[in-house]
Every structure is written in structure tokens, then in C-alpha cells.
């Protein structure tokens, strides 16, 4: 997974995985969350999701959630650092949307 330190932009996959983990969730739950929230537009392959989860674990943006030790499935939860990153991304996207709206939606005004 790219670091995105320079531009600060997260990939859509990274951002969605972080969002899916505001509540404890497992791999299949993350996949379902993304499909539901994008109405099927984005469907992650299991290999890609596995890589994304591992990369985020390494970065410390998500962590294993151990409360349900009995659960056969591994659960994950976003960390404080992960929340900061997600919030920063939200701001960046808002700013991008604002610019896009001004240019695209405002472009018809003069015609």
C-alpha cells in the first residue's frame, strides 16, 4: 500500500477499510460494508483486502480487537491515529469537492 505521505491522499480502499472499522469488524464484514456503502460499485477482492488490512496494522492505523476471543473470526478496530488520518482525509476530500463544485457547477453561470 502506498504511503501517500507526499500528497496525503488515501486510496479509496484504505479510506473505506478505515471507515468500516469505526466499529469492530472482521474481513467479511469490511467487504460487505464497502459493497453496501458504494451500492456495489466497489467490490474488493479478498487478496487486496488482506493486503490492505496488513498494511494498516503495520502502520498502527487499525489494531486487532480482542474482546471476542471466542470468535473464530479475527476482529479489527480503528486506532486513534487511524481516526486522525481518516479525519484529515475527510477534510481533504471536502476541500476537493468544494473546488470541483465551484468550477463544475459554477461553469454554467456565465452562459
Amino acid at each position: 500500500m502506498r504511503d501517500h505521505v507526499r500528497g496525503g491522499a488515501l486510496t479509496e480502499t484504505t479510506f473505506f477499510v478505515l471507515l468500516a472499522l469505526y466499529r469492530p469488524n472482521h474481513g467479511y464484514g469490511i467487504m460487505q460494508f464497502i459493497e453496501q456503502e458504494t451500492h456495489g460499485r466497489l467490490s474488493l477482492g479478498a487478496g487486496t483486502l488482506y493486503g490492505a488490512i496488513n498494511a494498516l496494522l503495520k502502520k498502527g492505523w487499525i489494531a486487532p480487537y480482542d474482546e471476542e476471543q471466542d470468535s473464530r473470526k479475527k476482529l479489527y478496530l480503528i486506532t486513534g491515529e487511524g481516526r486522525k488520518v481518516a479525519e484529515k482525509e475527510l477534510k481533504r476530500l471536502n476541500s476537493l469537492c468544494e473546488t470541483a463544485r465551484r468550477i463544475i457547477e459554477g461553469s454554467g453561470e456565465g452562459e
Partner: protein, 180 residues
């Protein structure tokens, strides 16, 4: 086999075992996992099984040595040393899932696709270069032409897929400049 109504239930070194099922009830994907260490491969399989898939491993060579140790310079980290028992004879991962009408791809993110293609390309490239060096050395010693032809076949066998995956990586990288 899947279209004819057979589902995979077991693999051994020289055999695939199937059972009858409805035609096209299951679908499969095959992934090259030779670059993973036994621990990484096991963790990946556990994850896929958790997602509701069934996984099988399959050997890429036919080798019955016990205590085999081999070096895979094209792999990363702990995946470089393959042993039997261990990751040797488990180079391929067959992933089975019940057909649900949705696309079945293991790698969907362009960056992840590139990483996967690179692992395939590097393995082919290393072997291709290895045999090409062998062929080159043969010019300095007296080796029968038949042996050189055989080596030449090996070189082509490995380098053609290496070129194919290099081009595929280039294509995905070009798309990544515009699309995520």
C-alpha cells in the same frame, strides 16, 4: 470440471479429487504464493477461509525429496527459503467459492494487482536469466547442440511470461496515473 458438475475436495502431489455437484456450482481462482513464507501463506489461507472460501495448495514441481531446502531469490524476506515440509510443494493456492453471480477476483486494487504481477514476473525472470546464463556458459565448453536447444527452450519458456507480466504491469501503471 466445474462446468461439468464436479467440485474439488482434495489435492495431493499428483492428484486432484473431485465430487459430483451441480454444474457450475463453484468457481475457482489460482494464486501463485511461492514467495510467501509458510507462516505468511498459512495466515493468508486462514483469512480466505474466514471470508467463506475453501482453499487448497498444490505443488508446482514434482519432487519427492524429504528435507528439501531451496532458495528463491525472487521472493521477499522469509519467503526466500522454501523447505519441505514447509512452503515447498505448496506453490499454488486454489481458492474455491460457491458461485454467487458477483465477480470473483482476489486482487482488485491496481496497486495490489501490480504487486501480484511483480511476484510472478520476478519468478519467471529469475529462472529465464538463470537458464540464459547457462546457455551463455555453454559457448565456452563443448556441449552437444541438443542440450543447448533444451536450454534455449527453457529460456523462452520463462522469459515469454516475464515479458507478458512486465507489459501487464506497465499497462496497470499507466492506468494508475489517471485512475486509482
Amino acid at each position: 470440471m466445474a462446468a461439468q458438475g464436479f467440485r474439488l475436495v482434495r489435492t495431493t502431489r499428483m492428484m486432484y479429487e473431485f465430487e459430483r455437484c451441480a454444474p457450475s456450482e463453484y468457481e475457482y481462482r489460482v494464486e501463485f504464493i511461492a514467495g510467501k513464507s509458510p507462516g505468511q501463506a498459512q495466515e493468508y489461507r486462514r483469512f480466505l477461509e474466514e471470508m467463506g472460501y475453501r482453499t487448497f495448495t498444490k505443488n508446482i514441481n514434482l519432487n519427492y525429496s524429504i528435507g528439501k531446502v531451496t532458495w528463491r531469490p525472487w521472493a521477499k524476506g522469509a519467503g526466500q527459503i522454501a523447505t519441505y515440509p514447509g512452503s515447498y510443494n505448496r506453490e499454488l493456492l486454489i481458492v474455491k467459492r460457491r458461485k454467487v453471480g458477483k465477480p470473483f477476483e482476489l486482487h482488485t486494487d491496481p496497486e495490489d494487482i501490480v504487486r501480484y504481477y511483480q511476484s510472478l514476473r520476478n519468478a519467471y525472470l529469475f529462472n529465464g536469466v538463470f537458464w540464459a546464463l547457462g546457455l551463455l556458459l555453454n559457448f565456452f565448453v563443448n556441449i552437444p547442440m541438443a542440450a543447448n536447444i533444451l536450454l534455449g527452450i527453457f529460456v523462452v519458456f520463462y522469459l515469454v511470461p516475464a515479458i507478458f507480466y512486465t507489459l501487464a504491469i506497465h499497462r496497470v501503471n499507466q492506468d494508475r496515473k489517471i485512475y486509482e
